[in-house]
């Protein structure tokens, strides 16, 4: 039986401080889940040597 590694906690911005669960290994949906905000993404893109700043092409 193959065990599935799907888990959203590692990518969540609250992973280190979240009080909802201590079992951060098998969470496949969560109302509090949040990725990095787009603004942060732009900042990170500045820092990345590989990527250039994205176009502001949001519709």
């Amino acid at each position: 039986m193959k065990s599935n590694a799907f888990n959203i906690c590692p990518a969540c911005i609250y992973r280190d401080t979240c009080v909802l669960t201590t079992q951060k290994s098998q969470v496949w949906s969560c109302s509090e889940y949040d990725e990095l905000a787009p603004e942060t993404r732009v900042e990170l893109a500045h820092l990345s040597a590989k990527k250039v700043q994205p176009e502001l092409a949001m519709a």
Binding site: M1, A5, Q26, E32, Y33, K51, V52, Q53, M58
Partner: protein
Amino acid sequence: MTTITAKVNNNKKKAALKGMMDNVMEQFNSAADHIELHPNIRKILSITNNEIVVHFPVKMDNGEVEIFTGYRVQHNNALGPYKGGLRYHPTVDIDAARALAMWMTWKSSLAGLPYGGGKGGIQLDPSKYSQGELERITRRFTFALADNIGPEHDIPAPDVNTNSQTMAWIADTYMSTRPPAERTANQHVVTGKPDGSGGLEGRDRATGYGVFLNIKFWADRNKVSLKNKKFIVQGFGNVGYWASHFLEKEGAKLVAVQDAFGSIRNTNGIKVEDLFNYTKVNNGSIAGFPEAFNLDNEKFFASECDICIPAALGNQITKDNAPKIKARLIAEGANGPTNVEAEKILLERGITIIPDILCNSGGVVGSYFEWLQNRNGELWQLDDVIAKLDKKMKESFDKVYEYAEREGMDLRTAAFCIAIKRIEKAYIQRGIFP
């Protein structure tokens, strides 16, 4: 590009997700035993119909090309087109999609919708890509899926890390690949689109409103007034907020809330709109809300209340906290918040659980309305949407409640029995080709 189609006559069952999805398989098998599901139909439902894997190239902002892997699993379409979310996440794979697609089959069936179950996604970390890159990834994925999705075949929806913008890109790309005269007739290839692009008014509150309705139907059945009833909510996202909003309007009192940042309580009541406005200026957090006290996170589920709404994540009510729960009713806004051991304890204590598959089905019903609206070339007003949700959710609740009473079983088992029976009936009526 590789397309893999599962062999339907393969006797080996595919492995399902551990944890919550193990529960789903267990619930399926238990319900199948209850209704003495025909062994041939059990075989069919234990395996997915189609599993599509696509590898596709996308040009990045810096001019380099990256190859992405996308999935779409189509579990069963006996009742209608496959329906289910698309998630963008580094750990998405075919096993996850398979288990979640199966879950969607039961959910759509129970809700009485003409849908089957599907799920999919792309293996990526969206935080590493610009908005422009995400748009190109989404559009190229849609092109790679080609006719494996379609408004009458497989209808994706938002999920983890995908939203109405993602759906608008998919719809636009899919429509662009159709002959000119057919383009606008294909808008319902996805649901969860933005308001101005075929989306449904009120879709944002559909799940939370559905949770509220289920609580209200239960209260009506038990001749209980919701006025001054105390409720607690775990998760103050879309579902938790809207469920609280409608319960407060009905006279119930929010007395404790927990989110990722902490727990708060006020036995005299927490004003839902005040808390919502506070979270908007407090980075989305309820912590430090001035009209409430801090509550020990461990004690949240033991709070004094009549109704408990776990609306955040799975596996929250366990054998450890189930004996301490004071609520008479648990309304599962989240997916899989109560584990099997906890459910046993709660049922023995006479606590009713409105199961996730029923309680949070307002979302998929909302999706169905959006699909119908697009398909019929209509624009529905919010009050129409609410009235139709009332009717649809009532039908589902009544079916489950009456079945549970008649058969002397809990609501979850009843819900699974109804969902599976409906699919079984379709197979019996149609037979197996050839």
